[in-house]
């Protein structure tokens, strides 16, 4: 029985891994094709304005040197073979390996993005529970009103205001960068640089998720089992934390999984307002300048995060609620 369960688990993990690779393959094909079909000339990003004074022979020579003149499927095949060997090609704009452009920046983005992500959901859950515990009282009303108001503050404007107040007037926090020069390893220094971007990212996402969780919790509080829980003599807090939140958890985990790109892309605004070196701004640039190789690697990283997190979410949800296990039978076949 145990052996059986083990092989089952292995099989399941294997299948999911296969699904992951397949998804990445499809994603790379789609992004590759769309990037090439989109109007615009990649040589523009390679040579800058010099392109305009080049002759058509020179342009043709440059294209064939960069491998841009081959048919699309040949280009793609070449890209895949290289990518499998760990070579993701040259960034046309930065004129060095795309990998080398991304590596120094991705750490900064991940630290900022993941911290914001975890804080957003932790705070959203806390807020939602507070609202649910005090449903339809002044506290709930005030939280909802303020939450909605703050959610509609434009993040770039908020960023600028925060810089004005906390960097320029109060001089509490630095206004830009990820760390002071020569202090990349200094955690405290990094945290000081992250605080203002974090505030902007949290404020711009928090209420969206808090409100969603709050409403799910209120639905859950109206279930019959809450009567039984009350009848046992449990307090409101115990009911919400032990019973309702547990039952809402699969929803929260699923939302967290699909919102990874949402929150991570939120770094873009923080990165541009606070001049924080990260891959958010890089992604936009790579698309703008037709920097295909850079674009591919960034999209694949984001895609891998999304797919992996949804696999993780499914696994976590099965632990929370075993009814969610895939039985191989759809609802229509039962």
């Amino acid at each position: 029985m145990i052996e059986n369960r083990k092989t089952q688990l292995l099989k399941k993990t294997g299948l999911r891994l296969l699904g992951f690779l397949f998804t990445m393959l499809i994603l790379s094909i789609v992004v590759f094709c769309f990037a090439r079909w989109a109007p615009g000339d990649p040589l523009q990003s390679f040579y800058g304005d010099a392109v305009e004074s080049m002759t058509s022979e020179e342009l043709g020579a440059a294209r064939s040197r960069l491998g841009l003149d081959a048919p699309l499927h040949v280009q793609y095949a070449k890209w895949v073979t290289n990518a499998l060997g760990g070579n993701f090609g040259l960034s046309l704009k930065y004129k060095k390996a795309a990998m080398d452009v991304v590596t120094p920046l991705i750490g900064n983005t991940l630290i900022l993005g993941v911290t914001a992500y975890l804080l957003v959901f932790a705070l959203a859950t806390l807020l939602a529970v507070t609202c649910a515990l005090h449903e339809d009282t002044w506290l709930d009303h005030i939280i909802c009103k303020i939450g909605t108001g703050i959610y509609y503050l434009p993040p770039f404007w908020l960023g600028v205001v925060l810089v004005l107040i906390f960097s320029i007037h109060l001089r509490w926090f630095p206004s830009s960068g990820a760390y002071d020069i020569g202090k990349a390893g200094d955690i405290l220094n990094r945290i000081r640089h992250m605080i203002l971007p974090l505030i902007v990212m949290i404020v711009s996402h928090l209420w969206y998720y808090a409100y969603m969780i709050r409403n799910k919790l209120l639905d859950e509080l109206r279930q019959d089992y809450v009567f039984l829980a009350k009848e046992k003599g449990l307090t409101k807090r115990q009911i919400v934390w032990r019973h309702c939140l547990r039952n809402v958890a699969p929803t929260i985990v699923s939302i967290m999984a699909i919102s990874i790109p949402h929150v991570l892309s939120g770094t873009y605004i923080a990165e541009s307002v606070f001049n924080y070196p990260g891959i958010g701004a890089l992604s936009i640039e790579s698309a703008k300048y037709h920097d295909y190789n850079l674009l591919m690697i960034l999209v694949l990283i984001a895609g891998a995060l999304v797919v992996l997190s949804s696999i993780a979410a499914q696994t976590i949800n099965e632990i929370i609620d075993p009814r969610m296990k895939e039985t191989g039978v759809s609802a229509w076949q039962r």
């Binding site: 089992y225 009567f227 039984l228 009848e231 046992k232 003599g233 449990l234 019973h243 009814r323």
Partner: protein
């Protein structure tokens, strides 16, 4: 046999935007130790609301207008939420109608029971588990140890209801409010559930307030029966008095609507009309419009409780000495002759 739960002049209203809904109106009854008192009536007559309000499980717009409920001599109507929590599950607990939705679907059965035990007793996890296993066996779930960690969806409806009962009994309460505990179960399971309740009463001496709309079920289990209509108790007496010597036309109607009885008379009766909406109820007897024996006074003044025997009371003007004599319907007569 001492009185354990006494409800006196109990009235409860819901405040709604449309006005005040008088869901429970001037209800009086008492429940003795080890007794099973059944409350019967149509849907919407206030049975469930009465039970939930005793435990204060109603929404905020519910308000006790008058009267009180005394548990072991203490007026629990005046209790704060904090004191109610100490009471719920410990002194008085409740079994609900639909076993499929009353258990938390994601938490294993065993944990739901130990949670209830440990809420009121400071005991170790292992002791609570041992106690929970005993409870599961008490309510007739075999292989309790193997099933301890299963979620409710592994159980059938009847088994889930047994689990709910185990939770309700976890801290040895003195009173059990059973709100249609058998309605959602099929008939064979129903019978087993009733036997289980009777055996638990015998073993633990718990007093049960049994709410049902099914007189067949009530006949099997109740010591005394209270008939409720539109938020009022219209007739109350021992099971014998209600089934063989009922006096209120509404009780006659309910009895006549029993298929088992109809087999004997060859006729299945129904009570015409619908129960009234209790938003500004009309003056007089709310049952008058559906009552073929209604007197003129029924439309003007609500009847008081007339005493028929030391245990038997009914609220109908037919019992007034000035009222015309009316023969009860044929089927109750036959029952009396039997």
């Amino acid at each position: 046999m001492g009185t354990i739960l006494e409800v006196k002049n109990y009235s409860l209203s819901f405040d709604t935007p449309e006005g005040e809904i008088e869901a429970v109106r001037d209800v009086n009854f008492s429940l003795n130790e080890g007794e099973i008192l059944a409350i019967v009536g149509e849907s919407g007559c206030g049975k469930t609301v009465l039970c939930k309000s005793l435990l204060k499980l109603l929404p905020r717009n519910a308000r006790v207008k008058s009267g009180k409920a005394e548990l072991c001599g203490e007026n629990i109507t005046a209790f704060s939420e904090r004191r109610m929590r100490q009471l719920r599950g410990k002194q008085i607990s409740m079994v609900f109608q639909d076993p499929l939705t009353t258990l938390n679907p994601t938490i294993p059965i065993g944990k739901q029971i130990t949670e209830s035990i440990r809420q009121h007793q400071k005991i170790s996890h292992n002791k609570a588990k041992a106690h929970a296993l005993e409870l599961l066996e008490l309510v007739g779930i075999d292989h309790a140890a193997d099933r301890f960690n299963l979620q409710p969806h592994f159980f059938s409806g009847g088994m889930r209801q047994r689990c709910v009962l185990a939770i309700a009994l976890a801290s040895h309460p003195k009173v059990l409010l059973a709100d249609e505990p058998t309605t959602a179960l099929d008939v064979t399971v129903q019978a087993k559930m009733l036997d289980l309740l009777l055996s638990i009463r015998k073993r633990t001496g718990i007093a049960i307030l049994f709410v049902s709309h099914d007189l067949g079920v009530v006949a099997r289990i109740a010591d005394r029966v209270a008939v409720m209509y539109a938020g009022k108790i219209v007739e109350i007496g021992t099971a014998n008095e209600i089934f063989y010597d009922s006096r209120h036309p509404y009780t006659w109607g309910l009895l006549g609507a029993q298929p088992a009885l109809a087999m004997k008379t060859g006729e299945l009766h129904s009570i015409p009309g619908m129960p009234p909406v209790l938003l500004n109820p009309p003056p007089g007897d709310t049952f008058a419009v559906r009552n073929k024996y209604a007197l003129a006074i029924d439309y003007e003044e609500a009847p008081p409780m007339f005493q028929i025997s030391p245990t038997h009371f009914a609220a109908t003007w037919l019992l007034d000495p000035r009222a015309p004599h009316i023969d009860p319907p044929i089927f109750t007569k036959r029952r009396r002759e039997e």
